[in-house]
């Protein structure tokens, strides 16, 4: 069994002190005027024997772990796992590792995970906040731990945050349905009062009512089992027989919706038009392909990391910043009412 080398071993092998090695390794060699020759010698030796500093010891000493904690709703969800991948790339380049946790948008789990990550001495957090975690986040901020929120702000709390324009994104999508001749658009959303959902609902409400349409919203609970949710949607459609288009406020709800429409053997897009918030790669292979509001995932991640580093690198207090990004509408076949020409003139 090969034992792991420590800085002490290297120092002895080279007959120099640990300090010297530490300086060379941390780019302070010039500052302390260590001869180029010695620097080279040390670097070469380290390379040869494959020495890498023990990060736990470094961490204990410096109080930094070079690790960022990322809390998202669910790593197995297409949207969140794509976010995770981008964060991994961006932070990896900066020499940071990631630990992540799936919160299920649950207050207790989120609090728990924040605690666990805190004990692991993560240097900062990127959080998709579940409701009600204000107090825990406050502790973090009191300790001057950098935190950035994404996807939604934490209500009653201002911290740096990267959001998309949920209102306008939705409004554009609803308008698109209207332009295509749909006349009875209903919305399926989560029974959550988190900001992103409220904004999407507002986008629907305002756009539809300005067009003189009636407003019908079905709210489904976050963890509702799929079969029950399908029944709720069926009842809803039964009650609102005139509905000729559905806007789903999340990807996951769209799954439920498609399941239902499949059951009901309704034809998309003729009998019913579909638009979904959050795009998925595979949507283009559905038949018909599904129109979706796409979030700029790459930008979201870049901005979030930038906000995080502002806090990480600044010594003084950084005032919270909110960055809002636009969405884009990916128009596919599920929203192309082929009867519209016949209908509009009416």
């Amino acid at each position: 069994m090969k034992k792991k080398l420590s800085i002490k071993d290297i120092a002895e092998q080279l007959h120099v002190s640990k300090t010297t090695i530490s300086w060379v390794l941390n780019g302070k060699a010039d500052q302390y005027a260590i001869s180029k020759a010695l620097q080279r010698k040390i670097l070469k030796h380290i390379e040869k024997v494959g020495y890498k500093p023990n990060r736990m010891a470094q961490g204990l000493r410096t109080g930094k772990s070079k690790t960022i904690g990322i809390l998202i709703e669910d790593i197995s969800d297409a949207f969140f796992s794509t976010l995770a991948r981008r964060f991994e790339e961006i932070l990896g380049k900066k020499g940071y590792r990631i630990v992540y946790g799936s919160t299920e948008n649950n207050t207790e789990i989120t609090k728990e995970l924040i605690q666990v990550f805190r004990n692991h001495q993560v240097d900062g957090f990127i959080i998709v906040p579940a409701p009600g975690i204000e107090s825990t986040v406050k502790e973090l901020v009191d300790e001057k731990t950098p935190v950035v929120f994404i996807d939604r702000p934490l209500s009653d709390y201002d911290g740096s945050c990267v959001l998309v324009d949920n209102f306008r994104g939705t409004a554009k999508a609803i308008q698109h349905l209207i332009d295509n001749g749909y006349q009875h658009i209903a919305m399926v959303t989560l029974s959550s009062d988190q900001a992103q959902m409220r904004e999407r609902e507002r986008g629907y409400q305002i756009t539809a009512s300005e067009a003189g349409m009636d407003i019908n919203v079905l709210k489904i609970k976050y963890h509702e089992p799929k079969d029950k949710a399908v029944i709720q949607l069926k009842n809803f459609l039964n009650k609102h027989k005139e509905t000729d288009a559905l806007f789903f406020a999340t990807n996951y709800l769209a799954e439920i919706g498609l399941e239902t429409i499949l059951d009901l053997k309704k034809n998309i897009p003729d009998q019913i038009g579909i638009v979904v918030f959050d795009d998925a790669n595979l949507f283009r292979f559905f038949k018909p392909s599904i129109t979706a509001i796409a979030q700029p995932i790459q930008s979201i991640c870049e901005q979030a990391v930038q906000l995080l580093f502002e806090q990480l690198e600044s010594t003084s207090e950084v005032s919270p910043r909110i960055v809002q990004l636009p969405t884009s509408l990916t128009i596919r076949d599920s929203s192309a009412n082929r009867l519209s020409k016949a209908k509009i003139p009416k």
Copy 2:
């Protein structure tokens, strides 16, 4: 700014020694006969002031980080992100955190990530091995770091490993196509000689040739841009005009295949049948829905963690074990040749 409490602070507040606290916290209180009353008092106080031990210090002292490194191909891929989620659940319950890395099935990136995680003192690895990482893995094993491979073994190296029966899974799928009357089945796979791909190919070859069919395999490079891959598949189909069914060896290849078939305006399943290795949630919403070979993700993760803990908890050498799990065929519409009845009697 609230300062973080250390064990020393607690000791002073309670007028006991650090040792006593450490023992109470690590479940050794009874062993060292610390009075129940004192234990309760300590626990209560710790709870009240919210003290949590600094894991970096613990780690430095014990050499354990309570962190597992997981290397997969790509966290944004549906299959791998679902694996990640299960690992998170299972390991989380055992008090372990996860750091993960996406290797892109690339040798250099994998080696690099293993190094980085090693410096972060992870206690063990679960790895989807890229080719050619034997030497790096060997270093790990020399240091007695527990390692478990999943999805495929590392060639020329025996370590504990959780696999699925790629051969039989594929064979079953091909047989299913044959039973449904398809007569010219081709396979689209990656040009990789990793074991899982070889086994899938073997499953196809043997089953198809036993049925007296011709064998046609198209191999696509791992990182081939989608548009180029589509062209390759088109050329292939052009050359083998008789092809009436395609077996895709991975999820990702299926995307390329569906894109192509869409372009070609071929009808699934009548003109061409489809089966895919690896199931995806959304496959059931495709029209027609896609038949797929599903891997038992939950079991894979459970088994892998078990193999990992065998190594983690044992003091002596653990001889490598290989666990092979069965796949299941999820039959949907893309493989139901509606003309088959007419064909078979011929």
